[in-house]
Symmetry: C2
Subunit: 199 residues, 2 copies
DNA sequence: GTCTATATAATGATAGAC
DNA sequence: GTCTATCATTATATAGAC
């Protein structure tokens, strides 16, 4: 079929085209899951020709790794802002329970289990980020309900991320039992922990 | 190609064939993720012809729902055993941190986000199970470190499941930072909670 | 740099032989 | 009940025109 169905050829800055492709990849991962990230779907979502996706990202793994790295970069910037805010612990909780952010993180985690190229990338960043978070949040934990020996800062961040991840994952899956109570508990604990250390 | 490459036709009890198919589905989900559950892969794993899978489970959704229901049935039996054991809270934690069990649960959760037929099934069971767990574990929480008002039983089970899920998910993805400390903390808390109510 | 066209492989699902 | 053969669809990836 050689009917002139095609779109016009638009000359773009390579960085613009790549950004369009990565944006589309992210949208698809969020809305339909990582399995929906196919050459065609990405191209369609981005309004580009399928071939162009392969031009910039030869294989699907290349595309996914590039998308993950950009997300990581952005997350580190958000994290820096969070940790330098007035109430870092509360800001950290808000950041982790932000649905788009955490939902995307969950997709990448699921992806890590099944794409080796991504797995190494994810593990490296996750371990690094947890250390960074624990170190930076430590000063904000002024009034811990548990002894520092039994509950060091890395436990606090691990627990917060665990609960935030579960709340977001389950909400997306239509599960809500216990969520209101758990959110209330975390709010209560964070309020206590961030209160002046004299209660 | 009509070379006689084929396997012999073995007459089985339908229940046996179905069990083989569901076993293969579970194995694939655990080892390669839900995306690896294709008609052909399941048939190969089960040592059966691809056509037979569709004979029992016309569509892939039918297969996945059947597999999920069998898993659910087994989980409820395990849960009953856990809750009637000597130390239900500790047994519950061991059950939730059992890697194959939790890894499979995580795959189904990921699946729920992208297959509508499964989503309803999962949400229904998850909400039901959480209520069941909270109710049954309540008596075992003899010495809670936090007030019952701010941390009711449903919070305890939600938190335990959240942390167990994260530990298993992350370990599978090659992430380990903070895990040892968090496991130690949970052990410490569970020991306190299950101690005689007089400390 | 961008598009169309196509080679190749894998998928879900069905028809029909045994 | 089980298997083989096959169709229609969709995937990754590449070649080449513009």
């Amino acid at each position: 079929m050689s009917e002139t169905s095609g779109a016009k050829r638009i000359r773009r800055d390579p960085e613009v085209a790549k950004a369009l492709i990565l944006d589309a990849t992210e949208t698809l991962m969020l809305e339909e899951g990582y399995a929906a990230v196919t050459t065609r779907a990405v191209a369609k979502q981005a309004g580009l020709a399928p071939g162009l996706v392969h031009y910039y990202y030869p294989s699907t793994d290349d595309l996914l790794v590039a998308a993950y790295r950009r997300t990581t970069q952005r997350n580190l910037e958000s994290l820096t802002a969070v940790l330098s805010s007035e109430d870092p612990l509360q800001a950290f909780w808000r950041f982790q329970t932000d649905t788009p952010h955490m939902a995307l993180a969950v997709e990448y985690m699921a992806l890590a289990n099944h794409r080796k190229a991504i797995k190494a990338e994810i593990a490296r960043y996750a371990d690094y980020a947890r250390d960074l978070q624990a170190e930076a949040l430590a000063p904000a934990i002024r009034n811990a309900p548990l002894d520092h020996e039994i509950c060091p800062p890395v436990c606090v961040t691990t627990l917060l991320v665990s609960v935030a991840r579960t709340l977001v994952m389950e909400e997306q899956a239509g599960i809500s039992r216990g969520h209101a109570e758990t959110r209330a508990l975390v709010r209560w604990l964070l309020d206590r922990m961030t209160a002046p250390a004299d209660a």
